[in-house]
Symmetry: C2
């Protein structure tokens, strides 16, 4: 018997989610993160573990903002297949999540002007919205569409 | 000879900075963080290591936002000795920082209304401003002033 939940094996992600291939740097420190891209769009998520929490055993705000950055920015990747950097992020914190919950996020590109994309985004856990906000992302340049992205054509690039 | 900078021992923090006593959760995963509180105010900072970086070997946006949350929110702790939660954070990304740089942040309480504090904040590395923005923090209730906080009186609480 133990209350050491941080040692428990986390539940797998929901169906269709694939782990992000990020084995070093900040992504490794705060991972694992997962992504699901389908015809309808793309979402990014993670299962809350001990190393995502604050002193109240809730998701730390920094972790939720990190997910917002990656989930909302990835909407630009999915829609336009460009490299980008984050210029501005506005995050409204509505609710935290607890250890064991699956937290995911996505958004919609609302405008595109002069290489600046504005994404309206949301993070949620089941039926609960955890965060709403917006991101401004600056395109650095186009790249080849990757599998799952809107402009990817099967077989055009092997 | 090696280019494995992630294995190198980081430089110590600047004079007066003390490590945050945060040995678990998200703070441990993304730490170590340091704080310096003096008569003039309070700043929070970290030395950029490999586990703070993105694929470009710059500080990841999520790490900078985490520091913004903690550095700007701590201004409320310093000024008012209250428990608080983050309600909103607005972050404008101006520049990233590189491995080895000392990054720090602080801010000013601009308004206080009905338990909501608005802090105007900044993150910087030496002379370079990395981020400007603002945070809205909601007071959860008062607590005893801690050493270094504005309202702390030596010897009143042992």
């Amino acid at each position: 018997m133990s209350d050491d939940v941080q040692g428990a094996v986390p539940l797998p992600p929901p169906e269709g989610y694939q782990p992000l291939d990020w084995t070093r740097g900040f992504g490794r420190a705060i991972g694992p993160l997962y992504r699901r891209t389908a015809a309808g769009g793309t979402t990014t998520g993670f299962r809350v573990e001990g190393h995502h929490t604050n002193g109240l055993q809730n998701t730390h705000g920094g972790m939720l903002m990190t997910l917002a950055d990656m989930a909302w920015g990835n909407v630009v990747s999915y829609e336009r297949s460009v490299f980008w950097v984050t210029v501005r992020l506005v995050c409204d914190f509505l609710e935290p999540a607890k250890i064991g919950e699956w937290v995911e996020g996505g958004g919609v590109v609302m405008s595109e002007d002069n290489g600046l994309y504005v994404v309206q985004g949301r993070l949620w856990a089941g039926e609960r919205t955890l965060m709403v906000g917006s991101g401004v992302f600056k395109a650095l340049g186009p790249r080849e569409p990757r599998p799952g992205e809107k402009n990817y054509v099967e077989g055009v690039k092997a």
